[in-house]
């Protein structure tokens, strides 16, 4: 369960202000955030992942209040409980597909890399059709393959929540639906929450809830 209560966030030296009086998202709910650029979708993802902290109000994810956590605990929370997917894939150029997928285990000692994880990595790559490309580097992959690698990286540590920021923004229609299918498949099977920020209305079928930030602005008082 995700709960936001009377949240106010503003970036330093900026006039932007995000205000949310109340928002609740169920643990296994699949939600799409849609709306114009600059309406605060990505900012909300950053707040939900603990990258940014609101100046006012509380944010609780899976029963844990992010505001009251230390920086270190928030990082640990992020890497153990949340899987992040980025619009530009954000793969590490000097790591091959396997090592990119295993990256969460290399950058935070809370996650232990063992044989089971490696096997899960192979399974995920098989699932997304990259089993024969595990030794390739990002520049040797197509954009669709890069985003599927990024999906595997977000799923490898079996997070309870996936936050995806424009995951199909740079993909052709075929790859777009492939990526969304994988995300749905991976959330359905293990009762995992999914929040996707998107501008693309063609991928909205299948979400449990669509939060349009234009309407949301009125109903939940998200203000700019």
């Amino acid at each position: 369960m995700i709960e936001l209560h009377e949240v106010i966030f503003r970036y330093p030296h900026s006039s932007f202000k995000l205000r949310i009086d109340a928002l609740q998202i169920a643990a296994s709910e699949r939600v799409a955030f849609v709306g114009p650029s600059g309406s605060g979708k990505t900012t909300l993802l950053n707040l939900l992942s603990g990258i940014d902290i609101p100046q006012h109000g509380t944010i609780s994810v899976a029963g844990q209040n992010l505001n009251s956590m230390s920086d270190a605990r928030r990082r640990d929370f992020r890497i153990t409980r949340i899987g992040m997917v980025f619009q530009q894939f954000e793969l590490i150029p000097y790591l091959n597909v396997t090592n990119n997928v295993l990256l969460p285990y290399r950058i935070n000692s809370r996650l232990r890399l063992d044989g089971g994880v490696r096997e899960r990595c192979r399974e995920l790559l098989r699932l997304v059709g990259l089993e024969d490309k595990e030794h390739r580097f990002p520049h040797q992959l197509s954009q669709g393959e890069q985003q599927r690698t990024a999906l595997c990286r977000a799923l490898i540590h079996e997070p309870g929540l996936i936050l995806a920021d424009e995951p199909t923004g740079n993909l052709d229609p075929e790859n777009k639906h492939k990526v969304i299918d994988i995300l749905f498949q991976q959330t359905e099977s293990v009762d995992r929450g999914l929040i996707v920020v998107t501008h693309d209305e063609s991928i909205l079928n299948g979400f449990d809830r669509i939060v349009d930030f234009r309407e949301f602005l009125q109903t939940a008082e998200v203000n700019k």
Binding site: D71, R75, R78, I82, M84, I92, P93, L95, I107
Partner: protein, 395 residues
């Protein structure tokens, strides 16, 4: 920590050319001053040791440095020569022993040193195989010569012609190798030793040819009377001296008039040394007598001054390399900013990211250090040989 190390290694191996350039820069910047220091120390030690083991050097007027280097290292012979008679005079004066050196010739680019057996004893040079030279035309090889030319007792070695285009020049002599010296770690290892008389044969002052009293071919004999036989150029000197023709080798002139390029003098006491030095010091046209340790000391002083200039310039180069390294590292960090941001957003601490950067630098520095140690070890192993071959070779 291992995971971070692995990540750092993957970064370095992916950007291998950039990393190699960085490693090369660090290694060379550290190695060049170390190389100079090792070479200078080794150079000083070797030069001074041999100079200190050589009490006095006698030679014709000219460059004292050239004469000393020739007497000690058989470098190119000085232009002016002195006569063997000078040695005879010193011996007869009872003020010291004299070991002649006639080092004007080479055999396959190694110096051929005409001397006597006392010289080898003076240098504590002993035979490893074979025997010492006993008759004209025989030689013994320094250990490096034998090794590099793959020659040993029983083999032959032809001396080099002084000038390939001078058809009236000296004929080469085929030397019979009768022994090989034990390694000494000195210039003696890279020389071919012959008796002083053999050296004079190479110089054309002595020669052997068929017995002209038994020759009646007008193509070879120009004129003949009861006292003299005048031979034509078609009578060729022996190219090799052996037991069957050694009796026919003869010298035209008295040995005291024959040339030597230098002599090493050993006095029994400091009084005799002072007397000898005084005798030659007052001479302005005759031979000069030098104390090698003084000459080499002056030379090393000059080398030290040059090295100080080199060290100063190396410090500047080192500083500029460090600044460049700083620039390269800051550019690398800037390029990696997006990757670092991704890691941070995924849940990595800034400390971990800093650790990652530190490991990358540490790996580069560690590889450079290993290379540096290997290069220094190689330098220590070969410094002496390289120095003598580069600095003191015959040129």
């Amino acid at each position: 920590m291992m995971q971070r190390l692995l990540l750092a290694w993957q970064y370095i191996s992916y950007y291998r050319w950039r990393s190699l350039i960085l490693i090369g820069c660090i290694t060379l910047t550290a190695f060049l001053p170390a190389l100079l220091s090792i070479l200078l120390t080794e150079f000083n030690e070797r030069m001074l040791t041999r100079a200190q083991r050589t009490p006095l050097v006698l030679g014709a007027q000219g460059s004292g440095v050239d004469l000393t280097l020739h007497a000690l290292y058989f470098s190119k012979a000085p232009k002016n020569e002195l006569t063997y008679g000078e040695i005879t005079k010193i011996r007869e004066s009872g003020l010291g022993e004299a070991f002649p050196i006639y080092g004007r010739f080479t055999a396959r680019d190694f110096p051929v040193v005409g001397t006597n057996l006392d010289y080898l004893e003076f240098r504590n040079a002993y035979l490893e195989t074979g025997r010492t030279f006993a008759m004209l035309g025989e030689c013994i090889l320094g250990s490096d010569v034998a090794k590099q030319l793959s020659l040993g007792a029983g083999d032959k070695l032809l001396t080099d012609r002084e000038n390939l285009v001078d058809i009236a020049g000296l004929y080469p002599l085929r030397l019979n190798i009768v022994g090989v010296m034990k390694p000494t770690g000195t210039a003696d290892d890279r020389a071919v030793f012959v008796d002083i008389k053999t050296a004079w044969v190479i110089a054309g002052l002595g020669h052997g040819h068929e017995d002209l009293t038994q020759v009646h071919d007008d193509g070879k004999i120009a004129s003949r009377d009861e006292q003299h036989i005048e031979a034509r150029a078609s009578v060729l000197p022996f190219i090799e001296i052996n037991e069957s023709n050694s009796g026919l080798v003869h010298f035209h002139g008295h040995p005291d008039e024959f040339p030597i390029t230098a002599a090493i003098i050993r006095c029994p006491d400091s009084k005799s040394e002072t007397l000898l030095l005084g005798r030659f010091e007052s001479s302005t046209s005759g031979p000069q007598m030098l104390i090698p340790s003084q000459i080499i000391g002056d030379l090393l002083g000059l080398v030290f001054q040059v090295s100080q200039i080199f060290n100063a310039s190396m410090a500047l180069i080192g500083l500029s390399t460090l600044l460049l390294l700083g620039l390269v590292i800051s550019l690398s960090l800037r390029l990696a900013r997006r990757e670092m941001n991704t890691m941070f957003r995924m849940g990595s601490s800034r400390g971990t990211i800093f650790q990652l950067q530190l490991f990358e630098l540490a790996i580069v520095c560690a590889i450079s250090a290993v290379l540096l140690v290997a290069l220094i070890a190689l330098t220590y192993t070969y410094a002496g040989t390289v120095l003598e071959q580069l600095v003191l070779k015959r040129n």
